[in-house]
């Protein structure tokens, strides 16, 4: 009898939470800052995650666990073996599966009471507005400049908050754009860097825990926005330096002249963001430097014939330790001041991991007067594929 009364009273007080949900969220419910009211707000909330990778992993896991009622996951990629070092949503058995679907399965298992929608698609100017409309908060966990400007512009056009996070090696940036009266991404960075000037994570690397921390901060800010509690990061850029282990904060102002959110908006629809970012072709962020090339097979044949070729490795010393072609190591960044180490009368073949940095090196050396210099097409990755499979790929 007592049990029955309790249940009835419980149902009355909770409206939409089942007894199972009450148990699941009990550590939220006993906090006055969340309580039943807050938990119901979470249940009603609709959050769209752009990217289900490094940042998306803690975001998805914590928002699902917290009981955010509807989660959308946008990703066109498939799970790769090199993702597992940081993208903790995925297991080894997920390799080769679409990320959005693998993440949906994991999050639904974590919390079957919420709705998780997978969008296995690339976010584009054509689909962004329609996709964003069904959600209250957009969380940017993507990995490239065109998509970041696209997410920003779509959020400003629709008046939706954009919980922003980005990472590089040991450093992360977090803030919230698109709040009423607050700045947008274009206020902070009016223009993207030209392609190739800023290395991507694939080139620059990233410590696996870093997206865990930055994505968790984004998750916390998302939950605070939903609950309407505390002081959020609008107008503040939070910078996290994992090496120094510290946070710094910078004031972010709304730019009155911002073409997107300023007084005189000049951008009133979504544009071509690849063109805006100077990227030709969607998956080619580096400029196509036209330099003379040699294929791995040609190089192998010439070395086997005993020809006098100098192999110039322009990677970093720690990459040389992973694998090498016994080349002379001068990291790209040191090339200008170490160019005297090279004999311009000898034929030189420059290489890196994928052929991108070495193309820059060849370009630089040609401008410096070197004439007999070639770029190893596809770098050490192609060497591993075409010549010597015992050379590890990384």
């Amino acid at each position: 009898m007592a049990t029955k009364v309790q249940t009835t009273a419980g149902v009355k007080a909770t409206e939409n939470l089942t007894n199972e949900e009450i148990l699941r969220y009990s550590r939220h419910l006993i906090m006055p800052e969340v309580g039943m009211e807050g938990q119901l707000k979470l249940k009603k909330a609709r959050v769209l995650l752009i990217g289900t990778g490094g940042l998306g992993a803690p975001l998805g896991l914590y928002l699902a666990a917290a009981g955010v009622g509807k989660l959308g996951l946008v990703d066109f990629d498939v799970v790769d073996f090199t993702n597992l070092q940081r993208q903790v949503t995925f297991g080894t058995s997920d390799v080769g599966k679409p990320k959005s679907e693998a993440a949906r399965a994991r999050l639904s298992d974590l919390n079957p009471d919420i709705q998780v929608q997978a969008f296995e698609a690339k976010l584009t100017s054509e689909n962004a507005l329609e996709l964003f409309r069904d959600f209250d908060i957009i969380v940017d966990g993507t990995d490239n400049f065109p998509t970041r400007y696209l997410v920003n512009d779509a959020c400003v056009l629709l008046g939706k908050p954009n919980v922003y996070g980005s990472i590089f090696r040991f450093e992360g940036q977090v803030t919230i754009f698109g709040m009423p009266g607050g700045p947008c991404y274009r206020c902070l960075y009016p223009e993207p860097p030209p392609p190739g000037l800023v290395p991507s994570c694939a080139e620059g690397g990233v410590l696996g825990v870093l997206p865990g921390i930055v994505g968790s901060i984004q998750a916390m800010e998302t939950i605070k926005l939903i609950l309407g509690s505390g002081r959020n990061l609008t107008g503040r850029l939070l910078l996290f330096d994992a090496l120094e282990m510290g946070f710094r904060e910078f004031r972010l102002r709304k730019n009155p002249k911002c073409p997107m959110c300023g007084e005189h908006r000049t951008i009133d629809k979504l544009i071509d963001y690849y063109e805006f970012c100077g990227v030709r072709g969607e998956e080619a962020p580096a400029p196509d430097l036209k330099v003379p090339e040699i294929t791995p097979r040609e190089l192998k044949a010439r070395l086997d014939r005993g020809e006098d070729l100098l192999i110039l490795d322009v990677r970093e010393p720690h990459e040389y330790q992973i694998c090498n072609l016994r080349g002379h190591l001068i990291p790209l960044g040191e090339l200008p001041r170490r160019v005297h180490e090279l004999d311009s009368s000898r034929e030189i073949v420059a290489h890196c991991r994928s052929g991108k940095r070495s193309a820059e090196a060849v370009d630089f050396l040609r401008k410096a007067g070197f004439r007999k210099i070639l770029n190893l097409k596809g770098g050490i990755l192609a060497w591993s594929d075409e010549v010597d499979a015992s050379v590890p790929k990384y």
Binding site: G53, D143, S200
Partner: protein
């Protein structure tokens, strides 16, 4: 007059791996000028060919964006910290 310039991780490879450098400088332009003459490779990352600060590189003096102060003429004094914050895009891959 030592002004501390903090070098962000993406630019450290172009600054001999250094986290920070100190200069005696009366304003931001002087500090960045000394920084880029010490590390020449940094120049193209911070400035356009016309010598203007690139628009994806933000500079802060003691936490305040110089765009809202006196730009590169923003005065600096002993003990000030200059932060260089370039845009980074990483997250998903």
């Amino acid at each position: 007059m030592a002004v501390k310039v903090l070098i962000p991780p993406p630019l450290r490879p172009h600054a001999g791996g250094q986290v920070a450098a100190e200069f005696s400088a009366r304003n931001v332009a002087e500090a960045l000028g000394q920084l880029t003459s010490e590390f020449e490779d940094l120049k193209r990352h911070l400035f356009t060919e016309e010598g203007r600060l690139r628009s994806f590189v933000n500079v802060y003096v003691n936490g305040e964006d110089i765009r809202y102060l006196a730009q590169e003429k923003t005065p600096t004094k002993d003990g000030d910290t200059i932060n260089i914050i370039p845009s980074i895009a990483g997250g998903k891959p």
